[in-house]
Symmetry: C2
Subunit: 324 residues, 2 copies
């Protein structure tokens, strides 16, 4: 079987690690190939290095190197290089770069600087994490640089800042007026992205941010059409529990695009291609969708087993829909 | 007083730190301004980062951050990033890059990438090390990239390799046929270099490698002429003790250019501008120079005080020559 997923960072990565666990422990499913299309709108150049936060969170989580507590960055991390950057007065200083994590960025930047595509760089980096051994293929949504910027307005006036500045530095506390995916007009899907959607047996949308993670991937020309056209059932998992994001600032992002923070409204963002929608049990009652099957269950990924169970439920829903 | 010195890495840095100590503890000399013109022929791009080994050794030594034992790199260093680079299979793996040291290279590369000149980058980096507070100004010999390559021949045939590959990876064990300063034909002296030589009261050549450190600086168009033309006495310190380099591979470098590893022969490389030549006491007897005054004394920089004494002796010789 071939499963393709669109994913952002922490929530998507934990869900997909759960999915891999579920597949590996389910007879007949352990040889399933999982293709992950990662959001690159969060990418940013810092200190001359190219940082791809979502790809790295996916890679570290699926490859066993993630810092479990924080959900991003490397386990057993240190910050010696960052201390030097600060001592030299290099800016910005609001983005935490661990030493081990920095190794990834240095290597990525070196290869990108040699003209290697982000797809190929991501494959090379993934090799070290043994993703292929786990039957996981990690693709960036695009090889073209796309950077999400946030139009904000505060006492300093209206301006557009990089998504990371809004998210990390300001903790999404400055109201966002809108998001602009800079470079999207020139972007094309990375090699394999559209085929992975079209040729999948199941397409899953993990509980990633519907606006700045999955929403950005959907903006890559051709991706939305591929989702509409694929024969595979498309099943999403709501990122909200009782109308609130489990982590991150999905509510602030939804508010910026004028969408209510409800499981129904989020499903509405996907309504042209969504076949199944897994929502938190307490949200299930209010959700009625014209063409997608809704199912409620506990959605809190309290540990790896819980994530595996949730991913298994999403997959089961997709397989039921496929049989219709 | 204004002293200008041409310098390579470890030996030059220790000598110059000794000189600064000598100046600071000598009444009337403590306000002396010291300009150091550093060799950049050792510079190399590694992992997409610009590494300037001699400038960094000078900066760390004069700024108090040097690893005393090895003479280069940072005190209290770690190698976590390098472990990651190796795990990703990034090359080369024969050049040791510490985490703290890497911070310098990341910042330098970021600034160079923004179009800042190496001179300005070096000044900014030096600020963090308080060099100006110690009345030390560190200048790269040139803002244009110059890289020393070594023509070698072994079982793999004749080829040119980067100086660092020859020096660090092969420990200068492959016989060098000649050195090529790639980029020198397009190089100009960095701002301030020629003036620092012309307007100095004393010019010193520390016991740096006469071929691949001082020799490379002398190759920058205009530098040799400035040394010939300056009114300041030019005093050099022999890098050999009993015909052997104290550290490094000066003998292998001299052999490659067909020059004997003797204090006389090294002085011959400077004969068109050298006024005084401080040699090791055991070498003194055999040294006769047509126009330079030779003085013998112990030259082993066993500790900081010994280095200060040697530097003081070089300065005293220069001041004697200036009074003539």
């Amino acid at each position: 079987m071939r499963i393709t997923a669109l994913a952002g960072g922490v929530g998507g990565a934990r869900f997909l690690r759960g999915l891999r666990t579920h597949l590996d422990r389910t007879p007949g499913l352990d040889d399933t190939e999982l293709t992950v299309i990662g959001n690159t709108g969060d990418d940013i150049s810092l200190f001359g290095l190219r940082v791809c936060p979502d790809l790295d969170t996916l890679m570290y989580t699926l490859g066993g190197g993630i810092h479990e507590g924080q959900g991003w960055g490397r386990a057993d991390e240190s910050h010696r290089v960052q201390g030097e950057l600060a001592a030299y007065g290099a800016v910005p200083q609001w983005f935490g770069l661990g030493d081990l994590d920095l190794g990834t960025h240095v290597v990525r930047s070196q290869w990108l600087g040699q003209g290697v595509t982000l797809s190929e760089v991501t494959e090379r980096l993934s090799r070290r994490w043994g993703l292929a051994d786990h039957r996981v293929r990690l693709l960036p949504m695009s090889d073209s640089p796309v950077e999400t910027h946030v139009v904000v307005e505060d006492e300093e006036g209206q301006r557009a800042i990089h998504f990371q500045e809004w998210w990390v530095r300001h903790q999404a506390a400055i109201p966002a007026q809108r998001f602009v995916a800079v470079g999207m007009d020139r972007a094309t899907p990375a090699p394999g992205v559209l085929d992975a959607i079209r040729q999948a047996d199941v397409v899953l949308l993990p509980p990633s941010n519907p606006v700045v993670s999955i929403g950005i991937i959907l903006g890559v020309p051709g991706v939305r059409d591929a989702l509409r056209g694929t024969a595979a059932p498309v099943v999403g998992v709501s990122p909200l529990i009782g109308g609130l994001p489990v982590r991150g600032h999905a509510d602030a992002c939804l508010s910026a695009i004028g969408v209510e923070a409800t499981a129904s409204a989020v499903a509405g963002l996907y309504e042209d291609f969504l076949d199944g929608w897994l929502v938190s049990e307490e949200d299930a009652e209010g959700v009625r969708l014209p063409r997608a099957t809704v199912q409620g269950r506990p959605l809190l990924m309290t540990d790896r087993d819980a994530a595996a169970d949730i991913a298994g439920a999403a997959l089961d829903l997709a397989l039921q829909l496929a049989r219709r």
